[in-house]
């Protein structure tokens, strides 16, 4: 029992080390991959523009729930006007980056992992190597960069829509004063809060994209292997994102 636990611990440690080495390998290829911008643009489209609908819908509903819950709570203290502040800080610092990263892992991360995994299973990657094309540079790096670029933008859109969702519930449905909703938000949200959100979403972008391409690239070349890689992508991404979230939040506290 202890032995199994120890073995699985060693196994995950080895996976972590392997992932970091894969990241270094990707980074080494980034300058040369930038020469073919069209490949990266395609992947920004795949990871970003195609995730837009789910991100916007989720942002709207998360914002609306935040507006409703926040209103119920703040009403007890007679300070409904602070709803704008509560919603904006919650979305910009925490919910925007984290929920976007989780949705991104589910929407774009799985697509990346299964696409690369299927390339592995159908020997497309080996074929590239035979033609002296580095599959890391041709396939992995553009997908990685596409995810890294898309994530902060998606998180910003999520927060923006979320704030309007909270405004919709708070101001239109619950009749919080619109002026104090916005002015209280502006006077108490600091540029530092927005920065924290941007830093978080950039880090999550790197983490989620890296996990997705790593799992896809190293999946077993079978139908089962691709499925397992996709599952691991979502599970690992979710855990890592929440762990990193705590770390970055702790780092940003004065």
């Amino acid at each position: 029992m202890i032995g199994e636990l120890w073995a699985s611990l060693l196994e995950s440690l080895a996976r972590l080390g392997d992932t970091v080495r894969f990241l270094l390998r990707i980074l080494a290829q980034v300058p040369r991959a930038l020469g073919r911008l069209q490949l990266i643009v395609d992947q920004v489209f795949n990871a970003g523009a195609l995730s837009l609908v789910i991100i916007m819908l989720s942002g709207l509903f998360v914002g609306m729930v935040l507006g409703l819950q926040g209103f119920q709570l703040l009403e007890r203290f007679g300070s409904e006007e602070a709803l704008g502040t509560a919603a904006a800080i919650g979305l910009v610092k925490e919910l925007g980056p984290v929920v976007t990263a989780l949705l991104f892992a589910g929407r774009a991360g799985t697509a990346l992992a299964s696409e690369i995994g299927l390339m592995r299973a159908t020997d497309q990657l080996s074929a590239m190597e035979m033609m002296a094309v580095d599959p890391v540079r041709r396939v992995v790096v553009p997908r990685f960069l596409g995810g890294v670029i898309a994530m902060p933008l998606l998180a910003a859109i999520f927060s923006l829509i979320g704030i309007y969702g909270a405004q919709l519930v708070g101001v239109q449905f619950m009749h919080v004063d619109s002026g104090s909703f916005w002015s209280q938000m502006q006077s108490s949200v600091d540029l530092r809060d927005v920065n924290e959100g941007i830093v978080k979403s950039c880090v999550f972008g790197v983490a989620c994209s890296l996990i997705a391409v790593y799992e896809g690239y190293h999946s077993a070349p079978t139908a089962e292997g691709v499925g397992a890689a996709t599952t691991r992508t979502v599970v690992t991404s979710a855990v890592i994102v929440l762990f990193l979230d705590y770390l970055i939040t702790a780092f940003f506290i004065k």
Binding site: L153, Q186, V189
Partner: protein
């Protein structure tokens, strides 16, 4: 070729939307876009016994109109007072030198801000001037402490005229 063009357009639109959202978050949800930093200002200082939890960036107002912001908060180690530097918008250059500065609280539990009330002097504050008349922040704990002290003293007197046993003379 057509497909690639549509795809590029879609990507461009997405990136534009993303940056627009970032721009909105940095300018519209924070007070950064409304700061006095870009406008000409002059600096005046004031010394307070206690500034409570006044923060850098808090508004400075006169008759409820925001005329500037707190730029720096320092500490004078000779007379143990807080030194608050305020940037006042140059538009408001007719503040009498004998005006007094007080620290108020926005709402019951809101943040602190500085309110200036005008004096009667004919000369006006200039850059690097100091406001001499100040009133400290209203500290809720002190007030409650005073209230409790008064209350216990009064109730002690009303019960018996003899001095309370616990109080040393």
């Amino acid at each position: 070729m057509r497909k690639s063009r549509a795809l590029n357009l879609g990507t461009g639109l997405f990136v534009l939307l993303g940056f627009a959202a970032l721009f909105f978050l940095t300018t519209q949800t924070t007070s950064h876009g409304l700061s006095f930093r870009s406008q000409p200002f002059y600096e005046v200082t004031a010394k307070f016994d206690n500034i409570g939890d006044l923060k850098v960036g808090a508004p400075v107002s006169m008759a409820g109109v925001e005329i500037g912001r707190v730029a720096r908060i320092g500490f004078d180690s000779r007379d143990y007072k807080a030194v608050v530097s305020m940037h006042i918008n140059s538009k408001f250059n007719q503040i009498p030198t004998d005006s007094d500065a007080s620290i108020y609280t926005q709402g019951l539990l809101g943040g602190k801000f500085i309110g200036l009330s005008p004096g009667g002097s004919e000369t006006f504050l200039k850059n690097h001037d100091q406001i001499d008349f100040t009133q400290s922040a209203f500290v809720l704990e002190n007030l409650i402490g005073q209230f409790l002290a008064n209350f216990s003293k009064n109730s002690g007197q009303s019960k018996s005229d003899a001095p309370a046993a616990g109080q040393p003379k």
